[in-house]
Amino acid sequence: MTGRRITLTLASSLASVDRVEQTAEEMAQDAGLEEDARFGVTMAVREAAANAVFHGNEGDAARHITASFENNGRSLIFSVADQGKGLDPSTLPDPLAPENLLQGSGRGIFLIRSFMDEVHFKALHPGTEVTMIKHLNGAPTS
């Protein structure tokens, strides 16, 4: 549905990660994304929510995450914000480097970047907001 925007403020919990994923899936389905693109978008937003809850907020129940979902007719725009210490994405190790392939973690942001057309990080003081954009019909918004 064009022009639709939803904002959720949720506790730092696994249930919130599931809720964000489900909302992203519904938004992607409403936008008519094909199955592969829908899968990628849903996974990216889930990864962002999981990062916000467990890395950003460190699972602290006193902190919340805020997730927003928007379809402006040209793109799906998702953002997830936490209240944590902040994240510098340039410091993240490359999960494809041979020395990192056998690491048990560190692939979340890489997957987000793989499945979305644009990914932006913003420092919130405190916290980090990640905005993920998927262009509809493969067309850039600008």
């Binding site: 996974m43 999981a50 392939l101 690491q103 048990g104 692939r107």
Partner: protein, 116 residues
């Protein structure tokens, strides 16, 4: 749908039949505990059947990698069986297909262990 896990034995190979979603939380923990239990029992030829796994997130991928290293460090081997297209794509994107020995036929996979 949460993850379900069942084990069976064929010719000395333990086959883990997984179904559902391997994601952050219960599914990942269940897989980790099962692998540790098998290795502690001395079962070191492990074939993970992902044919009915509909979804894996980065945490699930991490658990598969950890399972691989746990078994390998114990002197055993872990292979993957029956990847769905989505899981196959994820392993391609993350280059993990270069880590795992991936099979699409159970009998061939079991024989590959037996040959060692």
């Amino acid at each position: 749908m949460s993850m379900k896990l069942a084990t069976r034995q064929i010719d000395g190979v333990t086959i883990l039949d997984l179904s559902g979603r391997i994601v952050l939380g219960e599914g990942s923990v269940q897989l980790r505990d099962s692998i540790k239990e098998l290795v502690n029992k001395g079962q070191k030829k492990i074939l993970v059947n992902l044919g009915d796994v509909s979804y894996i997130d980065s945490s699930g991928l991490g658990e598969l990698v950890s399972a691989y290293t746990t078994v390998k460090n114990a002197g055993g081997e872990l292979k993957l069986l029956n990847l769905t297209k989505k899981v196959q794509d994820l392993l391609q994107i993350t280059k993990l297909y270069t880590v795992f020995d991936i099979k699409d036929d159970e009998a061939t996979a079991v024989a590959a262990f037996s040959a060692q």
